[in-house]
Every structure is written in C-alpha cells, then in structure tokens.
C-alpha cells in the first residue's frame, strides 16, 4: 500500500465515526458508543504511527483531489507528512484515545455528542499537523477552535463554564481573524497559499515590511492558541471549567500544536526572507515573559486545574524559546519537549480528575490530607512532577538539554536561567499540592468559601463507590509511562531526531519535494552535539523539592508582584482582547522596526 493513501485515513475515520456515534446514539448503549469512538481513535493512532515510519526516508506529499502542481506552481491543497508532523499527529491521537478511555462509562455524555466532538477534535488536530497549505492550516485551526469552545462550555448548567467557553471563543476567534488578515496580505504579495510556494516567492528581494507584518499577523493566531503572553488569559479560564478529558487534550497537544504551527510556517515560508532575526528576538522576548508570568501565577494558585494551566503556559514559553532560536538543535529540543511535557501534563490532569471524581473538589486547601489512601495515584503524580522538572529519563530532560545547549552557543545563557526559574516554580507548586493532598504534610491551609477557587465545583462523573475505576487511573499511568518512553526513545534515536529537525528547517527541501523545483537540496547541516549532559536537571529538581517544602512548612508566598499579577488576570473578556490588541500592535511595530 502506497504510504500516501494513509494520509486521509485518520481524517475520514474520525468524521465517519463521529457521524455513526451521533446518528446511532439513540439506539446504541453507552458501551457501544465508547467502543466505536475509542476504536476510531486507535485506528487513527495506528495510521499516524505508520506515517511516522513511512516518512523517515523521504517526506510524503499528498495532494488533495490529486491537484498536482503545474509548471512549478501549486494550485491544490497539499499535505506534507514528515516524521515531525506525523509524530505530533500520533501524540494527538494517543491523547484523544486516552481521553476517550478516561471519560468512558462514568462521564456524563449527552447522547453521543461528547464523543462526536472529541472525534472531530482528533480530525482537526491531525489535519493541522499534516498540512502545508496556509489557508488549510487556518481552517483546521478553526475546527480545533470551535470544537474546543464547545468542550469548554460543556457543563452548561455551570455559569462559570459558560463564561470560560465564551472567553476562550472570543479570544481565539480574534486571533484567527488576525491570522486571516496576515494570510490576505501574504496572498496579495505572493499569489500563493501553499507554504512552499510562498517560501519560493518570499526568497526574492523586496517587500520586507509587508512580509514582516504578514508573518506577525499569521503567527498571532497560532500564538493565541499556544497561550503565549499577552494572549494567554483564556487558557487558565478554559482549563478551570472544561471536563478533565478535554483539559488532557488542551494541555497535552492543542497548545503545543500552536507552537508547531509557528515553526512550520516560519521554516517553510519565511526562512528565506529577512524577517528571521527580528522575529526571533521578539518571540524570545515574549517567551521569556511567558515563562515568568506563567510560573509566578502557577505558584499562586490553589485551584489545581488552573495551576496546571499556568504550568502549561510557562512550559509553552520554554518550548517557544526552543523554536524561536530558529536553529535545528533547539527545534529538536522543543519538539521532544512538546511530546514529553504533553504526556506529563495529561497524566497530571488525569490525577486531578481522579481527585475530582472522588471528592468533588479541585481546591488544594479543601483536599488537604484527603487522599491518603490513593498512593498509586500519588506515585503517578510524583513521576509526572519529575517529568515537569525535567529529570531523566523523561522526554522533557532531553528536550531541555538540547535547548540549553543551543542557548549557551547563542550567547543567551540568561534565558536558560529564566527557564530554570520557571521550571523550579511550576514543579515546586505542583509538588507542594501533591504533598499536601496525598501525604497531608504541613498545616492545613485556610479553606476558601464554598464555590471559590475550585472548591466544591461538583463532580463531573457518576458518584464514586469504593475503588478508583480502571478507566481513570489506567490512562494517567499510561501517559506518564509514555513520557518516560519518549525519553527512552531519545536515548536511542537522538541523532536521528536532530537530523529530522534539521531537515524540517531546510526551506529548499520544501520547494524540492512539494513544487518539484530543480533545487539542489543541501545536506542538512547538523551541528555537532557536544558530549555529556549538563546537570541542570538536578538543580531544577532539588529547587522544586526545596520550594515545595518551604511552601508547605514555612508558608512561603509571593508578595506584591503576585497581587498585581492576580489583579491583571481577574478581568473579563474585554480586558483579554485589549491585551491581545496591544500585543499584536507592539509585536508588529517591533518586528518592522527591528527589521528596517
């Protein structure tokens, strides 16, 4: 079987299965609906995994409808499957499978609508990872968005869930509109929607300002999805109110795909233009801000889901640092970090969901010393915190290592210190929560009024009885094992991963593969990998443990800065949009100013 025929399988299977689930939900029992959905996700997972293997030698180009390029001009919509994109698609399928297993049987699903929504989510995520057409990318982006808005506002009876859904929807929609404006500008400038074609045109001299504005606009929507400061406010709201299974996917792969989109757009379309250095500086600046603000807010949270959301924001900043260096090794590090962190975050959300299922609350103070009997969950929790801190053998260790080395070589060692600070704060915060909840260490903190700060938000599953259901703890355990497996794979395949990242970062390759241009593709220049690994992880881990203990026993808190930050984050949707507008305007001004 030709590998190209595998490409539409995840998309078709997902849509077909969601139709079956929606149409047949009236007659099918819940078990059948769960099984159909899980089966579809597993088939997509297998197809994406096969695509990873099949594209290692040579990327697979799939033209929708068979509309091949004519005379070097691409008219149709192309899917470009290389191991990088296929790996993220596989991650998406794995997380959706886990999320569907997690929500099987006990989660209150209305007539198959939940399952259909999750399957369409899978379709959108896979399509986003595999496409090389800019408008197609934005359409998949919108599909992911709409489905995610629906999932966030799922608990319609809860006013704050609806509010979170609206905040999410309005912010991401405005982001996608700005991206569309960028696309319109790019189309006017280059006459092409295919990213490889855009890259071919952009390589010609001239039009620098327009290209700079266009790339900032296009990246805005993607950065909103990735929850980078100042576009990040919606993520905490959405995670706080969405069903746990949805949060698993949001933190596990949706935010990461936004950053992947930035990398894909830059390397295929803009690497041969002059916008690189200015864009790199701006993105690194935003990433540093994101790491700091995310970490500080994470530490200040009592609401477990919001805490994990801010952790995702902070680590997203770390991944953006890797991508924004525009250098193959850092890119490889960022991609590995995405896989490692995504799985670890999914495991943490799984554990929090188990607490929610059992106790009906996700507030750290309310849950103090409640989960003493759930030591298995505690083990999974601690392993996931280790992954958060970037300890071996988890994938995050290898990713962080590659990014750190690249930073040292670029002379940006101070950024590495910021990343250390962020890691210590986030891992320390989550560890503090775990130690308080599972082991009951430290004095019981003051419990907030009911309904505040994640307290007594109501169970999302049927009332528990006795033991934790298998469908809840098995996915969480599987995710954390997966995070370790990513690390194990890196132990074996690190050189190849860096090579694939170098190939990803090769504009000539896109022109050659997609347009059939007679361009000599230079052998990917893979930088020397200095031997040995830096002991940063030990510092991060010890710092996190120390911080957690200090927070529990010495009541360490963040002073006035924390209050100011919390006030900024306590706005409504109009404030979020104002920040977005200011952010886009500032980014555009700085990139254009630095570039000229």
């Amino acid at each position: 079987m030709d590998a190209a025929t595998l490409v539409p399988i995840p998309l078709l299977v997902g849509v077909l299965a969601s139709a079956i689930v929606l149409g047949g939900s009236r007659w099918l029992p819940r078990l059948a609906i769960d099984l159909v959905a899980i089966a579809a996700a597993v088939i997509s997972l297998a197809a994406c995994a096969l695509l990873v293997a099949a594209s290692r030698e040579h990327a697979i180009v799939y033209w929708a409808g068979g509309w091949q390029p004519r005379g070097g001009v691409a008219i149709g919509i192309s899917f470009y499957v290389d191991p990088t994109g296929a790996l993220l698609a596989t991650l998406a399928c794995a997380l959706i499978t886990g999320a569907l297993v997690y929500s099987a049987r006990y989660f209150e699903a209305f007539e198959g609508r939940y399952h259909a929504t999750m399957l369409l989510f899978l379709v959108g995520l896979v399509g986003f990872s595999l496409t090389l057409d800019l408008f197609n990318l934005l359409v998949w982006f919108e599909l992911i968005g709409v489905v995610a808005y629906a999932l966030t506002g799922y608990h319609r009876a809860d006013a704050s869930a609806v509010q979170g859904g609206i905040n999410f929807a309005v912010t991401n929609s405005v982001g996608s509109f700005v991206s569309l404006l960028g696309l319109a500008l790019l189309y006017g400038h280059t006459g092409a929607l295919n990213l490889a074609q855009i890259g071919a045109v952009v390589a010609r001299p001239g039009g620098d300002t327009l290209e700079a504005v266009a790339v900032v606009f296009v990246c805005t929507g993607l950065l909103v999805k990735a929850a980078i400061v100042p576009f990040h406010f919606w993520l905490a709201d959405a995670h706080a109110v969405a069903p746990t299974a949805a949060s698993i996917v949001f933190s596990g792969v949706m935010a990461e795909l936004g950053l992947f989109g930035v990398a894909r757009v830059y390397w295929s379309a803009f690497a041969s233009s002059n916008v690189g250095p200015a864009l790199s500086n701006v993105l690194i600046g935003l990433a540093v801000l994101t790491v700091l603000i995310g970490a500080l807010m994470c530490f200040a949270q009592q609401h477990l889901k919001r805490m994990l959301a801010f952790s995702t924001i902070s680590h997203g900043g770390l991944m953006l640092v890797g991508i924004a260096l525009f250098e193959p090794r850092a890119l490889a590090g960022a991609l590995v970090y995405m896989a490692g962190y995504g799985l670890a975050a999914a495991a943490l959300f799984g554990c929090v969901g188990i607490l929610l299922h059992r106790f009906g609350s996700v507030n750290e103070a309310r849950l103090h010393a409640s989960a003493g009997t759930m030591l298995g969950v505690f083990v999974v929790f601690v392993l996931a915190v280790l992954a958060l801190a970037g300890a071996p053998p988890f994938g995050t260790f290898y990713g962080r290592d590659l990014i750190a080395k690249s930073l040292h070589e670029s002379g940006l060692t101070w950024v590495d210190h910021v990343l250390t600070f962020g890691t210590i704060l986030t891992a320390g915060a989550v560890l503090r929560a775990g130690l308080r909840i599972f082991l009951g260490w430290g004095p019981a903190p003051r419990v907030p009024e009911p309904g505040q700060r994640g307290d007594v938000i109501g169970p999302e599953t049927q009332p528990p009885h006795g033991r934790i259901p298998v469908v809840l703890w098995a996915p969480a355990a599987a995710f954390v094992i997966g995070a370790a497996a990513v690390g194990g794979a890196m132990q074996v395949w690190q050189p190849e991963v860096v090579e694939q990242a170098a190939a990803f970062a090769q504009p000539a390759r896109y022109a050659h593969d997609v347009l059939g241009a007679a361009v000599a593709v230079p052998a990917s220049v893979v930088p020397e990998l200095p031997g040995g690994t830096s002991p940063t992880w030990l510092l991060d881990l010890c710092g996190a443990i120390a911080l957690a203990l200090l927070a529990i026993f010495a009541a360490v808190r963040i002073p006035a800065v924390g209050r100011v930050l919390r006030a900024i984050h306590a706005g409504d949707v109009s404030h979020y949009i104002t920040w977005l507008f200011v952010g886009v305007a500032a980014m555009t001004a700085i990139v254009v100013g630095l570039g000229s």
Partner: protein, 114 residues
C-alpha cells in the same frame, strides 16, 4: 478603488476591536466579532479584485479575458461559514449564561480565580 477597500477593512477592524475592548454585553461582543470578521472579508476580496475585470465565469467568454481572482471568493465563503458556526456557538453559550446568571454583562460574572 482598492485603497478604499483597504481603508474600509482597516476601519472595520479597528471599530470591531474597539467594541470588543469595551463591551458590556455578550451579544454586543458577538456582533463586534462579526464586524472584525467582516474586515477580513473585505481585505480578502479587495486583494483579489481587478479593476475592469469580470466575474470568474468563463462560459461563452474567451479564456484569457481578465477576471477577478476566484480563490479569494472561495476563501471568503469558507470564512463566512466558519464565522456562522462560531457565532452560533457563542450565542448559544450566551443564552446559557443568561439562563444561569440572569445577565449577559461580562462584569457580572465573578472573575475565574484560583
């Protein structure tokens, strides 16, 4: 002619964004979202327009007659459909908010704090 189109797109975008930044009503926010989206439509169509050209229908017309760009029209139609879906979703969420809280003023909702 196209400068007018670009100017209109720019104005629509700013007006819609101003409305969103100062909104006190979820329905008003949805309408402003549509105004911002209209800016993208106008820009897309403005980019594709050719002065003095005909619609891109070639039945009975020589194939090298000047025509406006049909790709932009396809993009705009796709965006309109997506916009309709997003608007419907946000409106349904706003209806739910009104049911539960009795208000559609964003400030009435307690900030989601943790």
């Amino acid at each position: 002619m196209t400068m007018i189109a670009y100017g209109v797109a720019f104005w629509l975008f700013l007006a819609g964004m101003y409305g969103l930044c100062t909104t006190r009503n979820y329905l008003h926010a949805t309408a402003c979202l549509n105004v911002v989206q209209s800016a993208t439509y106008v820009l897309l169509l403005g980019v594709g327009y050719r002065a003095g050209a005909r619609a891109p229908v070639f039945k009975g017309v020589p194939h090298d007659a000047p025509a406006v760009d049909p790709v932009e029209q396809a993009l705009t139609l796709t965006d309109i459909v997506v916009g309709a879906a997003v608007t419907a979703l946000i409106l349904s969420l706003a209806v739910q908010a009104a049911k539960r809280k009795g208000s559609i003023d964003p400030r009435e909702f307690r900030p989601l704090q943790g």
